[in-house]
């Protein structure tokens, strides 16, 4: 096993996933898809937490503090998605669009 999985592998996957989400937020114009890409970035950051907790064991067990933090992050993310989608629905009601290039009344 010369090519064992190291912490770097997981961190690199996490970083690439974060970059994909970042590119999506910058490129896409549909508000809902932008929001999904934000969730992707959040999930990529979660992978970093789990990887660090597994690679720094306490008493031969993964560091469960990281898992507890992840539990809270997932809960807050769920609340955030609910509120964000409600805001998008309210916006769609008043503007009839989810295209961010058409929602520009505060731009100038």
């Amino acid at each position: 096993m010369e090519s064992a999985i190291t912490l770097n592998h997981f961190l690199l996957v996490s970083g690439i996933l974060f970059a994909i989400g970042l590119a999506g937020v910058l490129v896409r114009r549909n508000l809902i898809v932008i929001f999904m890409c934000l969730e992707l970035m959040l999930a990529a950051a979660n992978l970093t937490l789990v990887a660090f907790s597994r690679f720094n064991p306490v008493d031969g067990q993964p560091n469960y503090e990281g898992h507890v933090l992840l539990f809270f992050i997932i809960t807050v993310a769920a609340a955030e998605v609910a509120v964000g989608l409600a805001i998008i629905v309210a916006l769609f009601r008043s503007r009839e669009t989810t295209d961010v290039t058409k929602i520009n009344s505060m731009k100038y």
């Binding site: 961190l11 996933l17 970059a19 590119a23 809902i32 999904m36 992840l70 955030e80 409600a86």
Partner: protein, 169 residues
């Protein structure tokens, strides 16, 4: 174990790319579910069973159902075939590629990142599962944050109802 890591990492990354390149929002949502499944498999490979299952239940289950439901509700049309502004697209992908390069360079220089997966101590019997340990921590050491999270969820629920009402009175 090694090839499983590559398979699931590829699944997560391909799903992520699918979210960005699919013009149809519903296809993007389903690509996102694929990405989350790959991510959950990576979590389970890191012995984080509870978190992996939560990732599937909460993200791939609840959150993505909410997204798909809102997409259907709003009847979101595909993004117009009009070409993306070329300068915007190149600069966006430039930022993403620069970020990836930055991460890879930093990782290549780091020493803590090069260590292989440490062996875990063998445990068995009641109270040895990670669900048990995390639950114990949540309700002893982290009792206050979990109360705050409960209040947050209540506030979010009320807020969503208020926000999605037609008119406030």
């Amino acid at each position: 174990m090694t090839f499983l890591f590559y398979i699931f990492a590829a699944l997560a990354l391909i799903g992520g790319i699918g979210v960005v390149v699919n013009r149809n929002p519903v296809s993007a949502a389903f690509a996102m579910i694929v990405s989350f499944l790959g991510l959950a498999a990576l979590f389970i490979q890191l012995d984080a069973y509870l978190v992996g299952i939560l990732q599937i239940l909460v993200y791939a289950g609840a959150i993505m159902v909410l997204f798909v439901f809102i997409i259907m509700l709003l009847d979101v049309e595909e993004e117009e075939k009009r070409r993306f502004p070329i300068i915007g697209i190149t600069s966006s992908f430039g930022v993403a590629i620069a970020f990836t390069l930055l991460v890879s360079v930093i990782l290549k220089r780091s020493e803590i990142g090069a260590k292989p997966l440490p062996k875990l101590a063998e445990v068995s019997g009641p109270g040895s599962s990670d669900v048990h340990r995390i639950g114990e921590m949540l309700f002893s050491q982290y009792w206050f944050p979990i109360q705050i999270v409960g209040v947050l969820l209540l506030v979010a629920t009320v807020g969503v109802i208020v926000l999605s009402k037609k008119e406030l009175r």
